[in-house]
Each structure stands twice: as structure tokens, then as C-alpha cells.
Symmetry: C2
């Protein structure tokens, strides 16, 4: 290992040393096929011995370029005083950090964060292993000792409650091995559902469980994969909370990421990097990867290291999320009851309403032992079924008010509750209890977004 | 009518004149039962001859106090230089406005804006007629000549496509009578659905059709009923656009209301006054009731007076809005096909996805002649089904991408399209066309809200 230089070994280390190239210098790589890559030399995360050179391109994105026989490296420009944005202090240290680094496990489950372009079709398909991600994002090696593995590799729209159970089991197994934090790389489409599922399944945690994804594939210049993964590893390694959180870009720029509580977060945009936002709650923390800093936004969290791991895994599969719309037919409720569904989360209007012609079918469902929970398609605010006649009739029919729970979170919660409650009555009680921060009793005026009213 | 004073007649006018009370003066009304009301004297809208005194309370809300025999009025304080917030210039005019005022019809359909407390139960139930609203909000009489009527009186969660049709017919009839604008007072729960329905049904309009509601009942101090109705009447009377819009509070304070395009608006909060917001679009205008001013925010609108009234009424009732969730069973799609549904709007994840195990049932639905449209539960952003494998499979199965349409709007549009297209192919083509501003081809970065990241 005497040949190591900034994490590079073998032939690459030798060539870089001959050039006098240092981390932060601008270099150009010309490959035998004539393709040219230019950018700032980044340190190499040393877990893999592959001959790969990591460059930070001008768009801010890191790539790993394979050093094949016949590849030429040129030194374009020596490093300026200020290094690039993302990696700062740890890079400039001559000696390794004094204390042992936290150990973080990155568990791959699929999604864009683990994807590269499927060249045949031009479309994106998950393909990259979690370990390969390390090669592309060397910063995380300075934050923690990284281990990585792939549990499965699916697009997150294909996640089911069975997958939630498998992820929970695997995360529990890894925590049992003594990791200081777990990162779950996950597709963004249903990441918030999985985050809620893990939040309910883990009744207590000794370390953070951090879900992370990417809105843009890591082969695109605008990819948020590296930034998000860095922020997620930092959170897993050092955050003072031991909760299930989603860590994703907080703004469009590479400024800060946010750590959202797993039961209060929602994907609010199809494509923006800052698609994930907390609803009816503030995020737990802002994560500033460029400073390796975690800025806490609340003191209300479950502390790292205070509680033991307790997993109550298992989700009822016969639960439906039904969004109300004008004129909706009762036959849809009746059908679910006939098919043996044990729970229905209604996404009603306003304070928690549906058309009055549905109330009979809902009452019959409740009488048949189905747990029916009301949420609001407004998303923001709180269900209050005592204000209007319709709400009071629904309460009388036995509908459980979902407080300020997101419809998606109420769906996940009901799936979990029905797999663990010993009776329908206990399930109803549990739906009203705040189990994993899914109910926020205190809303403040500034929790609502500022809407754009001017072009 | 010689006894008239600021719109007051009879005994009230006589007492006010004796006191030397003017509009804007602070007065106190002591009723025979001992109840006391104090506030600024407001002008009386003269359509009704009832002996009612209108006060602006210190919370900014106007109430009408019945002047019964034995009621005492005291002059507390003469008007200060600056009159109250809402009514300004027109009040101070000595002579009537020089030109004939626009004629506006307020059509009541129910909801909180037309409600008062149901005292027996403490709950709110629609009860007040549109005409009674005029008594409570005298400002609107200065903006326009008001006629009013009640079409029906229902909570808006009970609105159905049949009600949309009745409202459209009645609005068309009223426009035919020469009104300069129509205000539709409507419950807020499904007001955005009705706004979209009218937007599609009215292929062209000569005048604005303005939906308005209230988030807080008019008996509550925080009621937004008066402010919203004033803004709605102003919009109907004077806006340069002839479109279907929703006019509601723009902020929590009584500063401005917003006129949202009927196909781009959504109720985003269960209880806030500024619950209605434009999604993937900017509002058309800010309405400043205190200045009787309309501030246009765009030049892209259909102009007042340019087009003739054209109503193509009718909505297909066998259309469903189905929200996807992890693990959702194909049996729900199959059930809708079996029951003869002609259209299904899917509220998928991310860029427009569902679990791959649903694709077979979706393809069967399409093959059976059901029009299936994809939207995103993210709400913000645009469906793009060319990026990932799942999207391409869904396109191949014949799913129509819903662009940046809100799921609710796509549902209303499909209901309308299926009642008017001559074939399934024509229906599919129409779903891709921008018929009523429901598709915004240009999104800008600043169309996304600013999310609160700090307590």
C-alpha cells in the first residue's frame, strides 16, 4: 500500500505522482478511444482497488473515469486557494481524523440514486450497486467508514409492503452489527411511503435510519445523487437523532439538504431536486455537506444511543387508500368490503368530508369490522369532523379522524396497525395515538409554504 | 326615499341623522335584550328594506344588527381621517358614480359563505340566502348593481357532476340576461372541481364567472366571507378577463384576494383563509378590495366581451379517480372496467408510475375502450412517462399522459371529454389538447412554493 496517493493505488497513483498532481488540481484525462474528461482531481475512496480516477466536473458532479491501458493524464492547472464546493476540511487534513470514524452502512434497494443510463433505449434503469456509488462519491469516505450492500434493486413504484418488511428486517440486522447509522438508497417515487413504514415498524432505534434518493440520474450533469448521498451519510454518521428520516436536497442549489421526519414528508414535485418537503411539520435538520455540518431545527427528537433496537415488523396487505371525488359511487367502498379489506383510508375533502350518499356504505364497512380513517386531500391542515353536518355523520358512522396525518402516512400506519392490534377497537385507538411523530398537535402559521403569486 | 341616509331608510335613518352619525363613525348599539355591538358605521346596501345597521367590528368583520323597537344607538367617536380598511373611495363620494354600474348576479349554491351557525348543535349548516349576504357585505353595492338568487343550497362535498351541469345551465341563462359578471357562491370543499367543470363546459364566455367561498363561517370573527365576496364581485364586475376563476384570500390578512384560473387551482389547506392556490401556474390577478383595484398578473387570458357565450354542457358519470399506493391490487382497476366505467384517471407516483403488476389490468381496460389518463400525486411538476421503464410500459399499454394537469382537473376533464367526444380516439386526442388552460406548457422555477425550513 506504499503506492497510495489520495486513496489512489498502483498505476494511477504512480502517474499522478509523476505529474505532481494534487487533489483540487485541474486535470484532463484522454482515453484510448479519444474521449476527454476534464475537471478537478478528487480523492479516491479506497475500498475498491479498481483503477478509477475521480473528477469533479465543472457542473459540480463527480464522475469516476476508468484508467485503462493507453489512457493519458494531463495537468491543466494547479489548485486555486479555495477548493471546490462540496469537500472542504477533511480533504486538506494531512493526517487521518484523530478519533475512529463512525461506521455507516449503505443499503441499496434501487431507484435513480443507484442508476445509470440504459444505453440501448436511452431510458434510465437501476443498475449500479451501492458499492459503485462509493466510487462516484468519495466525500463520504471522509465522513465515515463505509460498508455497502444491495438488498434488492427495484424501481420504487414497484415497492410493496412486503418490500418494507424486507428492508426493516435487513436494517435491523445491520444495526445489530453495530453500525452507527444506516443509509437506505431508495427510488424517490414511493420513498416517503417506505420512510413512514420504517417509522412505524421501528418502535425504537439506537441510531438514525436515513432514506436517500436522487431526482436526476447520476449520469446527468444536474444529478443530485452525490450531494444527497453525502448529506445522508453525514446524517447517518453524526446526527444526534435516532429516527427514520428522509434526506434530500432542500433547495435547487447545492446548499443544504433537509432531514425530514419519516412520517411527515411527501414528494411534492415530479422532477425538482427539492421535491421532498415536510408537510404540517418542520424538518428535523438542515444538512450542509460542504461544511460537513448538521444544523438542528428542533429539540424534539428521539436521541441517538438512548433506546435499544425494537422492531415490530409486519404490514396488513388488505388496506386501501381511496381518494374521494364528486359523484364517487358507493360501490367502490362496497367492493373493498366484499373483497375482505380490513382497512380503508379515505382521502376526503376539506376538513374530512365525502358525499353524504357514501355514508351508508361506510357505516356498513365499519359495522363489518373494517377500520375506516379520514384524511384530507388538502394535505395541509387538520381533519376536523365536528364542524359540519357531514363530518358529524361520518363520526357517528364510526370513521376515525386522521388528525393532520398525510393520507399516504395514514395508509401506511393503518397497514401496520392492523398487523399488530389485537382487536378492531385497539386498532382504532392506535390510529388516534401519535406513534411515530405522524400526528403533530401544534401547527404554526409559518408551517404553510409561501406561495408564488407573481411571475 | 327622501329618508334615505347612506342606504338606510325609515327609523334607522332618522335616528342616525339625529345623532349626526356618518359612515365611518364609531357607534354603539344596545339592543333591548342588553346585548351590545360596537364598531364603525358602514353604509347599508339598500336592496333590502329591513331595519338593519351594518357595523364593521374591530376584528374587521362586518355584521348586520337588527334595529328592533327599543334598540338604542350611541355615537362613540367621530370618524378619523383614514376610514376603515375595506371600503375607501366610493364611500366618500357625495354623488353617485357617474357611469352606470356593472350588473353582477350572485348565484348561491350553498357552503360556508352562505352559512350561519346552527345554534341547536353548534355546528355550521348552510342557511343564509345569497340576498342576505348582500345585507352583510354592503361594499359590494358600491361596486356593482347586484341581483342574487339561490339555485340550491348544499354542502359542497355533496356536489356531483349533475350539480355542475345545473350550475352551468343557470350561469348560461344569467349571462344571456346581460349581466356583466356572475358570482357563484360555493362551498370550498369541492369548489376547485366545480371551477374546472365550468371551465370545460363553457367553451367561450363574454364575461367572467367567479366562484367564491369562505373558509370560516360568517358568524365567526375570523370569517373571510365578506372580504372574499367583495373581491369576487369586483372581479365579476370589472376584470378584463372572461374566464372561470376562483377568487379567494391570497394571504391570511385582509390584504388581497387572488383570481385563480379554474383549471389550475386547488384547495391546499383544511382551514386557512389562503387555502386556495394555483398549482403549476400563477394566478391571473390580485384583487385589492380596499382599493377596489384589480392587479393583473398575466397578459394571457381570454378577454371580456370578445367571445360569445358557448356552453357545451354534460359530464360522463362513469369516470373514476384512482390514487395509486404501494401494493395496490389490480382488482380495483378490473372492478371499474366490469362496472362499465368509461374513464379512469390514475394518480400515480413521481413522473407518472404505478406498480408494474397493475400494467396488465390497465392494458385490458384500455383494450376494452376505457380511457386511462396518468397524473401525479406529487401535484407539482409534469408527468413524463418516457424517462423510466415503467412509464414507457404504461404508454405502450395505451395510457394517456396527463401533462401537468392536477389529478382532480384531469378527472373533471375526462368526465367532460367522454360526454362530448364522438369516439375513444377523439377522447384521447382531446385529453392531450389544452382546452381550458388546464395544461401549462411553460413552468418556471419560481412557480414552486417557498417551503418553510425553519420554525
Amino acid at each position: 500500500m506504499g503506492e497510495e496517493l489520495f486513496g489512489y493505488t498502483g498505476e494511477v497513483a504512480r502517474v499522478l505522482r509523476e505529474l505532481g498532481a494534487e487533489v483540487g488540481d485541474r486535470i484532463r484525462i484522454v482515453k484510448p478511444d479519444g474521449s476527454v474528461y476534464e475537471g478537478l482531481l478528487m480523492p479516491r475512496y479506497a475500498l475498491s482497488r479498481k483503477q478509477i480516477i475521480v473528477l469533479k466536473l465543472d457542473n459540480g458532479y463527480n464522475i469516476g473515469v476508468r484508467f485503462e491501458p493507453g489512457t493519458r493524464i494531463e495537468l491543466v492547472e494547479k489548485r486555486r486557494a479555495a477548493p471546490g464546493a462540496i469537500v472542504t476540511v477533511p480533504l486538506l487534513e494531512e493526517s487521518p481524523p484523530p478519533t475512529p470514524k463512525p461506521r455507516v452502512y449503505i443499503l441499496g434497494t434501487g431507484g435513480t440514486i443507484a442508476s445509470k443510463i440504459e444505453y440501448e433505449t436511452g431510458a434510465v434503469k437501476p443498475a449500479m450497486s451501492a458499492k459503485e456509488l462509493l466510487d462516484a462519491v468519495p466525500e463520504i469516505g471522509f465522513v465515515a467508514e463505509i460498508d455497502a450492500g444491495v438488498l434488492f434493486n427495484i424501481l420504487s413504484e414497484n415497492m410493496t409492503p412486503e418490500h418494507w418488511e424486507r428492508i426493516a428486517d435487513e436494517v435491523a440486522r445491520l444495526i445489530g452489527k453495530g453500525y452507527d447509522g444506516i443509509v437506505v438508497a431508495h427510488g424517490t417515487d414511493t420513498m416517503a411511503y417506505t420512510a413512514a413504514a420504517l417509522s412505524f415498524a421501528f418502535r425504537s432505534l439506537p441510531v438514525p435510519v436515513v432514506l436517500v434518493g436522487a431526482q436526476r440520474s447520476s449520469d446527468r450533469p444536474s444529478s443530485d445523487a452525490a450531494f444527497n448521498l453525502h448529506a445522508a451519510v453525514l446524517t447517518a454518521a453524526r446526527a444526534p437523532f435516532a429516527e427514520v428520516v428522509v434526506v434530500m436536497h432542500g433547495e435547487t442549489g447545492d446548499t443544504y439538504a433537509l432531514a425530514h421526519r419519516g412520517t411527515k414528508v411527501r414528494k411534492m414535485h415530479t422532477s425538482r431536486r427539492d421535491a421532498f418537503q415536510s408537510i404540517n411539520a418542520f424538518p428535523l435538520a438542515r444538512i450542509w455537506p460542504s461544511e460537513n455540518r448538521i444544523e438542528l431545527l428542533t429539540r424534539e427528537y428521539r436521541e441517538r444511543g438512548r433506546e435499544k433496537l425494537r422492531l415490530e415488523n409486519g404490514f396488513e396487505k388488505r388496506v386501501a387508500l381511496v381518494k374521494y371525488y364528486p359523484g364517487m359511487s358507493p360501490e367502490i367502498i362496497e367492493f373493498l368490503v366484499e373483497r375482505g379489506y380490513r382497512g380503508i383510508v379515505l382521502e376526503g375533502t376539506g376538513l374530512g368530508h365525502v358525499g353524504e350518499w357514501l355514508i351508508d356504505s361506510i357505516k356498513k364497512a365499519v359495522d363489518a369490522g373494517v377500520v375506516v380513517v379520514m384524511t384530507s386531500q388538502c394535505l395541509f391542515g387538520r381533519v376536523n369532523m365536528n364542524v359540519y353536518t357531514t363530518g358529524r355523520k361520518l363520526l357517528a358512522a364510526g370513521v376515525i379522524p386522521g388528525e393532520d396525518m398525510l393520507p399516504e402516512v395514514a395508509f401506511v400506519k393503518l397497514s401496520w396497525v392492523l398487523a399488530h392490534a389485537k382487536s378492531v377497537d385497539e386498532a382504532k385507538r392506535m390510529m388516534l395515538e401519535n406513534i411515530a411523530g405522524e400526528i403533530n398537535p401544534r401547527h404554526t402559521v409559518n408551517m404553510y409554504p409561501r406561495w408564488p403569486h407573481e411571475p
